[in-house]
Symmetry: C2
DNA sequence: GTTCAAATGAAACAATGTTGCAAATATAAC
DNA sequence: GTTATATTTGCAACATTGTTTCATTTGAAC
């Protein structure tokens, strides 16, 4: 992924904090929290700058916010450049054991019917449980 | 609903802030935010007390927390005394127009399949859009 | 290099989440 | 009703996050 090209195509200036944030998200396979990103970057940029950089990146649709809980927010790149991605329900998995968040591209909410007169705009789905790696670990411990 | 009886049955002491919170939630048809509850009660209790009251009520399962966004949290009574309610996915609707949150008892997520080795513990579903009342209002405006 | 709009950094503030501890209170035992 | 005890409350203090204003700096277009 060419971060600089992407910023240009979204009409955002190539600034150091934006490039740093995008690189961190690009290098990590799973969504990262604000503190995780800041830890990866280091204490280079102001907190407010970080916050505003996230906002501008979300606004143009380069990244998206995943709210696990009111105290836990993760960010991930929008790999899909398809505009229609917004119409597909977001499904995220939060592992209560390792605290990692995974985007479940393959998991799909099959169907729901809203009451008469209601219209859907977005749908955020967060499934909380135990991921494959932790499940194995837990099972392994019980076997000992 | 008898608030005092319910507290007793959940082995929580009948304290003024808990009773006040439960009454507010009981009297409102839709989930309320912390500030909405505090506004209804008045400035009687300490902020920390409020916070801890909410925690204890959630812990025993008398109320539940609905996280719409990391900046918007609502609380609602668990009307259903059935223990199995926890196994059913929570579906909430957030109206972007009137900012109200509604528990959608009748809306059900039909099916989703997690990857091999993953296990589900909870599933929070928040559908954002426009509710029936606001939809009518918006349509009405267009008709003029 | 100059110019101008955009982005940053600093200060200041609001809201929320959390802990430790002393004082107050609910409940149970008497 | 009084007393004892465990719970709950209120206060202080602090951490994190969200947000605005404004002067300064920077990016990129010319």
């Amino acid at each position: 992924m060419n971060v600089i090209e992407l910023l240009k195509s979204h009409q955002l200036k190539k600034t150091a904090p934006r490039v740093a944030i995008l690189n961190v998200l690009n290098n990590s396979k799973i969504p990262q929290s604000e503190s995780e990103i800041k830890q990866a970057i280091g204490d280079l940029y102001d907190r407010i700058t970080f916050y505003r950089s996230m906002h501008s990146l979300i606004e143009v649709g380069m990244i998206h916010k995943i709210v696990i809980d009111n105290t836990l927010v993760k960010y991930a790149l929008n790999n899909c450049t398809d505009e229609h991605v917004h119409e597909v329900d977001h499904v995220h998995f939060y592992c209560k054991t390792c605290s990692k968040v995974m985007c479940m591209e393959e998991v799909k909410i099959m169907l729901y019917v809203l009451p008469q007169g209601y219209s859907k705009n977005e749908c955020d789905v967060v499934i909380k449980g135990c991921c494959g790696s932790c499940e194995k670990f837990v099972l392994g411990k019980h076997e000992n």
